[in-house]
Amino acid sequence: MCVLFGPSPAGSAYLPALTDCVIMVDGKASLYVGSPRMVEMAVGEKVSLEDLGGARMHCSVSGCGDILAASDEEAIELAKRYLSFMPQSYKERPPARESREAEPGRSIEEIVPYDQRKWFDMYELIARVVDAGSFFEIKRLFAPEVITGFARLGGRAVGIVANQPKVKGGVLMVDSSDKAARFISLCNAFNLPLVYLADVPGFMVGTKVERAGIIRHGAKMVFATSQATVPKISVVVRKCYGAGLYAMCGPAFEPDAALSLPQGQIAIMGPEPAVNAVYYNKIMELPEGERAAYVQQKREEYVQDVDIYKLASEMLVDGIIAGSELRGELIKRLGYAESKQLEFPYDAIPYRRCEGRAEPPPPVIVIQ
């Protein structure tokens, strides 16, 4: 981990970049490959140091910075808190603390509306779930449609990956996939169990994101999730559409538990686009006056079909849990998961131990 108080240019810029967590002091820390003078000479661009490689830019745009600190003192305090969640090495478990009640406030039943079109603030839900004051966010300013951070649940350190429906409806973008992927790998490396809180309309669509490699970056998140062997609990908080649920460790990824709030809804897509996709021709054949009623009826049928109780009946989710029971259920499950033994298949056969490896061909030397 690295606390950056001042500049770290050129070659030394890679030192922070190669750590797990970079804390940067706002207005003082900077990270750049080429200085503003060099940039002007090389590419003819006039830019200030702050805009080019300042702490705020890195913490909100490039993602090179993980946490923005207001002062040197705060940066040191943040470094201490980060360490408190970490074990001494990857061979150990993170130290537990005494359990603390969650912050009091509105109930989860009130926070998460049953109406799928209404948004809510995921931070409020997190506050009701984790030990009071324990949430330690990583990359708060970067790709805020996904929330990542450490927290304590009944004293145990965990990693939280949550969608934020308040920002862009919680849709997974290029940067948010990247952010989540790295965080999941970090937790897996240091034995922090993962809790996913999903309210996700899927991955973003469109030319812009396809060109930016949404599939490539989305795959990183899916990969990190499937490869993580720490205990994983996935909670369908509300809507979970399409491949979004894969990335959020849905039932198909064999999490240690896939739970859903009663507000949950799992489907390929929301009722509006689904009805439009399936019945488009039929809708168009109808006289205009009848269309609205037909669409409404089909949407209602669709909602019935993806009813969470139906999915629980089919054992697609392990359980439905009311918001008021969620914290207790997570603590219970994380406790019982402590003895989990699971190795990623490839961990069992380290590369160096593989036998019968072919000798590499001799290098070809061309003499001119």
Partner: protein
Amino acid sequence: MSDERYFKERARIEQGHAKYRAKLTEEGKLFVRDRLQLLLDPGSEFQEDFLFARNQEVDTPADGVVTGVGRVGGRTVCIMANDYTVKAGSWGEKTVAKIVRIQERAQRLQVPLLYLVDAAGAASRSRSRSSRADSTPDASSTTRSSSQGSSPRCASSSDPLRPARPISPR
């Protein structure tokens, strides 16, 4: 909408098939959840899996089996317990899937697995299927997990006339 539907549904399922509770008392048997309460450490919380399995039909609460993790004598134990009020504890469509899942979970958690058996065998009216998870828990998964045998398993048959099926060669 509120959580009301959830709590109502859960309460309905947790009481088993209400119609046959009285018969159970007549036979001098305990209800499955009362057995669990006696077994589990007081104050320790039982974490149940798949409570809502087959909730779409009225006569199959939890599909006749309670599975989950709890503490017995301070130790973590995976449990499978038949509910005799639901079709005499016979194996329905999801019963078998639930058994397989708790067997796998015990394996993954490296903890003992305890069967509280009170079952009339496979339910005759349940749709027969050929997939692993739906019809053959004992042939593959039980044999596999007990021969890999890292944790103890034990079966307690609640009805002497219907002894527990042997789970490993004795």
